[in-house]
Symmetry: D2
Subunit: 310 residues, 4 copies
């Protein structure tokens, strides 16, 4: 079994995957996809940036879209820490590791710390955000998949074990991991801080690159409704993989590509993982292994394509 | 627009697609698929034949499976007529057409008429069946997709227009039809007697061959549950196409292959078609046209493979 | 068993329950309920009348709301006949019965025949309507329960057997009926022309009064979404009975009252009834009998209140 | 706003509501309810005790039923702590408070600490349990509501504020609370340790008494299926309140009574509460206030009846 245990007392309290930034070519086009098909809510916008949140989210944004020339990319992957003290501790942790760690100004966020992890992924941490009204009870204002909240990221890195060891030292637990059927090498690791199996997932591929962000939906009917809406809006091609059911953790899923190719997973709420008995589960990956309980193999685009970090 | 109108007073009253017969190699293997994954109910069985019905069906069987050596096939496609008088009228209609029409003995059915249509498809008509308890309220006994009732057939024939004209003369109405985007030729016709768009569908391909039987399910959750069950029983490969949403008539669907390759569609209840205004709707078919509102193109197997008529 | 069989050749071909007219005090208030909560689509409107249809309906209106002073009521209950010939036959049928039968002009409808049944219920028949686009595939434009189509009416009459006998002579079949547990009297009869159990239902009470109109919904999630929307719009009190599951025919239901007290049922598609074997089923009604598989007894308002015929 | 903040460093790490014990009169009768209607899985049983878990739960039991003479009751309410160290810290915490705290032997559990809270509620803590296979992916073995996992308890106590202050000192956060519309008094407090709003809820009534245990379900279809099954098994009366939608936190719910009158809520997964910004929300309770977004007021039995602590 994989031997990655977080310290009993982590160096700082990272609480959850919380927010990220994509650059896009056309804000209006992206807005249609994210608000009409996924059902995210606009918290603020101007001509160069769009702040979005899930219908249940109280914090100002879980997805920021910035208009940019050139190749669209993922600018940064964000996590919350519990309080301001944790931010200072995080800064020391990265500095002690010899990694860059700098304060940044970000609208609608409290003090924000910009860092890079061992694999080079640009991360940020903050402890507070401006709040807005939760909209999950406002059913008359919901659209598309009525996406509830950001749940997790998947990042492609060349050495998943080394990357996971680094996150383990920050306090992330392993929920499950994939071992290659031929080489025996660990090819994927799922890690979490909050009470479900995933905050960040690493898969072995050239990187670091951003593979997808997962949003929780309330019901599989919401996935189908989102697809029906996409079909009507001329966006049927956004469906890249699914609907289907993942195997090892059983979550019902669909993967969509936004107009710039950034990938979003919609998934049902995952199982709860809290107890000390919840040791990592191993599953098989590799040629001939369908990682899903049923449904088709991921297409080559899903396997190979990802957003570059800007 | 297509010019196929049934006579005001049809030669006999065919009421609906009602029952069919498949031959299979292994009854036990087929039984697991049809009862555990699709949720059909066993009405009767012995070592060589299995009679199945949907949970809502009062009539004894909508699907008969017969054990047979050699290549599995579809033995016969059945329709109901309203009463015994209609059976006699049907016999005269086929005889007047110069087509074979013979009485046959079939267990659990009243007088049964065996005929062949213009395309050579083996059909049968009956007016009564033994009845059994409807099981749709017995939720504690339901399995898999809890398939409700047989809805329609799709048959592949070389000349869909000629075949449809024959069915039109029997009183079948056209609900919609597909015109090839390049040739302008009519490549598919959907016909019905009951109050929804489909009892029998013809698609242009070498034939006659049996493409699929459609069963109504109550909820798309039932489709997903059926897939989850299939995955657990080692039958995940039965999913051939979908889940997805058809375009022109909007029904949510999945296509599965049984252990012998016979194809079953599960679909939500269709729209109602009764009024005289419900003139046939045209849709496009051919290269580059996805017939679905969203989801992937049918795989080559769906396009090309079908059950032979025995 | 109840002895009510329609003639083999009915006097005219009534095909289905199709449209009705309510008078209401405030059109804007009613429009909010019917379009936002139930999800009906506006076909046409002016300051004194609102024409609504279900998202799947091609015909112009299934519900007409007219602004009127005084006590709101039901103006008329409508059925379709198959063609113009049937209209003339219907006129003769009512005249031969010594009942009034007069042609009327109704916007967006073809020739329209106004009659009264034996119990005094004002009915109308027409064979054609103006058509509009079916909207059931336009998921991005759906609201609330996205009600699909009108399914049936329930009318309260003092003598249900006599009334049912009259409808039987018009060609309506009995699908099921309720016998009073104490008196043995038939207290309710469910009748249909189309391929499901209900076009019109009679319950024994002072009348004739209009009890409810039933609209088909696609999924029980749509019922819950409609309730969530109603709660947000300050209309939570519209829920009168349910959600629950009827017993004898198993349909999942909810009953709502519109702002004038007119009652609407939302229900899943019913079972199919076509075959000659589908003889009427008896169920028990009366004190101590819950007509539902689960859920609470109907409240006194459901039992006693109804819309007057204008 | 309510002024109850847990210490930054709680005295011990209680992680979640996890398991409880009911006494019942007839184990077989209770087993049918919990396994067929709710869909819990039997982990172990003998003639005097039944250990049950939700389909997703890896730990041995979340509900223990013990056969007992006399009035059925709730024996004990259980929480998990993260590790063995926390158990020792918990023991000291209770002893320092002058409250009883004793080690107990409980089958399939590690070291178990029996205590009473300030209100007199019998609690227990443990850090480990025997594990079993998660069954949430085994769709072919699921029954009824396929209840996923235990989520929270509601306990009735005379002084909710004092009780909540005690739990706050143990590290529980307040997610929301109800203030009486007339008296201004705090009449209900919702508290949590895990990442959703509820582990334990206190409502003001004579007590301590056990009001209900909440289990998470995956889909509202599962609630309806459970009701359909209950209706078929002659248990339709188990539905006490709902289905409906709670107002202030929006969860879709139903309350059922088991054969001994113990109350179970089935609910969709709740929103996520982790961030420091998630300050307690106030809602109104009292005469004339429907706590639900729609649906009927709780019946008197829901308001007044509860299980005694044994």
């Amino acid at each position: 079994m994989i031997d990655l245990r977080p310290p009993i007392a982590p160096p700082f309290n990272a609480t959850r995957a919380s927010h990220l930034v994509f650059t896009v070519a056309d804000l209006a086009r992206s807005k249609a996809f994210y608000t009409e098909v996924l059902g995210l809510v606009v918290s603020d916008e101007d001509e160069s940036v769009l702040y979005l949140r899930g219908v249940e989210e109280r914090c100002h944004h879980s997805l920021t879209l910035k208009r940019a020339e050139g190749r669209p990319g993922c600018e940064r992957v964000g996590f919350r820490v519990y309080d301001e003290d944790d931010l200072d501790k995080a800064k020391r942790f990265f500095q002690d590791m010899g990694l860059p760690a700098d304060w940044a100004e970000t609208p609608y966020q409290g003090r924000t710390l910009h860092v890079r992890d061992r694999a080079g992924t640009p991360l940020e941490f903050c402890a507070t955000m401006t709040t807005r009204e939760r909209m999950h009870t406002k059913a008359h204002l919901h659209h598309g998949a009525r996406a509830q909240r950001l749940d997790h990221y998947q990042v492609l890195v060349p050495d998943v074990y080394a990357t996971a060891r680094f996150y383990s030292s920050m306090g992330f637990r392993v929920s499950d991991y994939g071992r290659h059927v031929r080489t025996g090498k660990i090819a994927g690791i799922f890690m979490h801080r909050k009470d479900n199996p995933w905050d960040i997932v690493f898969m072995e591929r050239p990187g670091p690159r951003f593979h997808h962000v997962g949003y929780i939906i309330e019901s599989l009917n919401d996935v189908i409704h989102a697809c029906d809406v996409a079909g009507n809006l001329g966006l049927a091609d956004c469906v890249e993989h699914g609907p289907g059911r993942h195997g090892h953790m059983h979550s019902y899923f669909i993967y969509m590509r936004d107009p710039d190719g950034h990938r979003v997973e919609l998934l049902l709420p995952a199982i709860q993982i809290i107890d000390i008995e919840d040791s990592p589960e191993e599953f098989a990956v590799g040629p001939g292994v369908n990682p899903n309980l049923w449904g088709f193999l991921p297409p080559p685009s899903w396997v190979n394509e990802a957003s570059a970090f800007v």
